[in-house]
Amino acid sequence: MNSMNQIETNMQYTYNYEEDEYMTQEEEWDRDLLLDPAWEKQQRKTFTAWCNSHLRKAGTQIENIEEDFRNGLKLMLLLEVISGERLPKPDRGKMRFHKIANVNKALDYIASKGVKLVSIGAEEIVDGNVKMTLGMIWTIILRFAIQDISVEETSAKEGLLLWCQRKTAPYRNVNIQNFHLSWKDGLGLCALIHRHRPDLIDYSKLNKDDPIGNINLAMEIAEKHLDIPKMLDAEDVVNSARPDERAIMTYVSCYYHAFAGAQKAETAANRICKVLAVNQENERLMEEYERLASELLEWIRRTIPWLENRTPEKTMQAMQKKLEDFRDYRRKHKPPKVQEKCQLEINFNTLQTKLRISNRPAFMPSEGKMVSDIAGAWQRLEQAEKGYEEWLLNEIRRLERLEHLAEKFRQKASTHEQWAYGKEQILLQKDYESASLTEVRAMLRKHEAFESDLAAHQDRVEQIAAIAQELNELDYHDAASVNDRCQKICDQWDSLGTLTQKRREALERTEKLLETIDQLHLEFAKRAAPFNNWMEGAMEDLQDMFIVHSIEEIQSLISAHDQFKATLPEADGERQAILSIQNEVEKVIQSYSMRISASNPYSTVTVDEIRSKWEKVKQLVPQRDQSLQEELARQHANERLRRQFAAQANVIGPWIQTKMEEIARSSIEMTGPLEDQMNQLKQYEHNIINYKHNIDKLEGDHQLIQEALVFDNKHTNYTMEHIRVGWELLLTTIARTINEVETQILTRDAKGITQEQMNDFRASFNHFDRDESDNLHSDEFKACLISLGQVGNDLQRKNGLMDHDDFRACLISMGYDLGEAEFARIMSLVDPNGQGTVTFQSFIDFMTRETADTDTAEQVIASFRILASDKPYILADELRRELPPEQAQYCIKRMPPYTGPGSVPGALDYTSFSSALYGESDL
């Protein structure tokens, strides 16, 4: 009960104390001089165990804490073991003062360690005062086991507590707030063990409900593995309301030392590891740096030559490939390297920083790998790059230009070569040697054209050469072949020039020669043609068939011939001149070895022709002479014939004339009866017949003349024809005249015209026959008619022979209506043959006709009109009715249809029919 109360009080008390626990332990110890028996028990156990844990290192133990330390020897030993320092030598004696001295040594030592021992004397210890001893041990423990604990700047008891808290933080079911109640469930201890050595304890299997088990387990493990003796009594701890703080602290401090030490070691190891790690890391970084630097430098070392390579490529494609590679390099290969470099720098900086931070000396890269080296190398790289890129682009430009130029060259060269192909052959032709002038001229024209073509090409050749030059300058890879070709072209060009010149000269020379020849030919032609004509004319003339009809003619021919002969020498001269022209031509041809013919294109006249003709001419001349002379003789003969004929004709002609006149006169002079006239005429006739023989003779002469082909005769105006015609006319005239008279006789007898009338007619006729031709011209006839009208009057008055009606008709026909038309009509009657004259007979006929009651067309028409009842047409029925059937049919058949006004079907035109009967139609 007491104890219970005490406990309560103590409990209360110590609760208060808990709060002040962080105050100095000394004060607490001072106040609490009473020791709780439970605590005492616990302390005793715990401290003993603790001391033994140290003393066993010295090979000794204590069993009873208040007894075994009484001589102070073990105490000193304990202190030596704990501190590791040597205490002053203990007094070896058993006397109380030896013991006290030893204990004092111990206490002094403790005091020298900065512990203020209050109210603990050596005597109490020697005397075995439990409380004092426990207190002293506690002081020792506090000082040597707990005081030095430092956890995160917190030390001693707080530090220990902190350490416990920290270590048990992860354990939810552990909550360390103090060094008494918090440890009751034993989990704290287990947690501490598990925290540091999880392999020793399976914490998850522990349970709050088995505190004793937990504590024992912990102590067991600690003893076995951690070399910490069991210092607590599990039941005591669990069963006491509040375990002894000091005991707990002591035991826990052992844990601390065990783990913290381990931890320290761990920390140290960590530190070392860290340091080492840092070192290693640094070394690694340095190695890495070195490695990277090496690699990078190596890479740069490899790359720079590639970038500095200025080996030109031949083709643009190769160059493009290079550019592509470069691009690849820039895009793919360099960036990682840039990054590497960057990384290197970073690494370097990091490394340096790390080294500096960790107090190491700065990193000095090995020779040639220093930052400056790398920077330098990198710079060189980049320069090389730039240079390379520039070079690439330049090269590509150059190659492009080269390729372009090369292609241009090829093209132009090809074009030129094509053009030039065969030209040399053409120029070497000798075609002009056998060509004509026009052909040569044409060749010259063509050549001119060629020359200008050549000139035009001069440019191009120069261009080609210029391009070749440029290709050379630009260092074209195939410059050799280009130069070759260019050279060939140039050589050929020169040769073309030379050949052209030569050909020109040859052509011009040939042209001149041909012109000369041409001129000669022209000259030849100019002269040969007329000469040829002359010769032909001469030949013709010399062979000319002449017909001459008079001596004069032949004589003129002879003189002409003589004149001709006079021109022969001159002609010969001309001939020779012409021939010499041809010789000239041949000479030229021969001396210039021209392969043309000497034939003259302007003239068909050849030299041979000229020669032969000339010979002919020469032959013909004497021939002509001869024939001319022959002719002359003949002409003379003809002349004789002419004269003979003329003589006769000149007699006969007039005789005939005379006779004609006589006959004419006889008819004109119509005195006496017709019978008398007849007789006279018969007489004439007789004369004429008798004269015939003369005509015959003349005919004979005429025949001769004609046989001699004489067609003219100037000796007489009378031709045979004249005579003949005259003779015949005479014959016919006499016959006609006789006939006329006969007719007159008949007429007279028939018509009952009296001789007087006949004489009147005759008188009138003769009056108007002014020219006494026994024919009246139309105007004479007209006048005659007119006069006869008067004569008619006279006649009527005189003898009343003409019928009244007849005469009227005569008047009408001769009086008023003597217009031209009417007169022409009359003329056509009296002169049907259109001779323009009216013979007396026809005049008589006309007169008689006019005065006779003869049918005229008008009368017939009038008759038809009566039958047609005054219609201008007649119908077939009417004809049949009025006329006998035969005549009617004749009319119907012959009459044309009437187409005039008022025509009806079947109308017949009797007017035109009638006039047609008389051989007259008015149209």
């Binding site: 022409a824 009509r825 056509s828 049907p832 259109g834 044309p896 007259e920 139609s921 149209l923």
Partner: protein, 89 residues
Amino acid sequence: MSNYSVSLVGPAPWGFRLQGGKDFNMPLAISRLNDGGKAARAHVGIGDVVLTIDGISTDGMTHLEAQNKIKACTGNLNMTLQRDVKTDW
């Protein structure tokens, strides 16, 4: 003896008298001209012999045939004639 041609513009009458024919044994000739008639204006002469009518020769034509031929010309009358030239022996 000169020949000439006339082309008288129709229609009829033509203004001339035709005389003769094979049946009369006389040449087909102009025997009369009307004053101012078409034939006269065309300088046809009296006594001129008609050689062709409308291109057809009058050789052997009877008077009636010739008359009909001329009458058949409805448009122009084309004739060739032989002018009567006076001869002097």
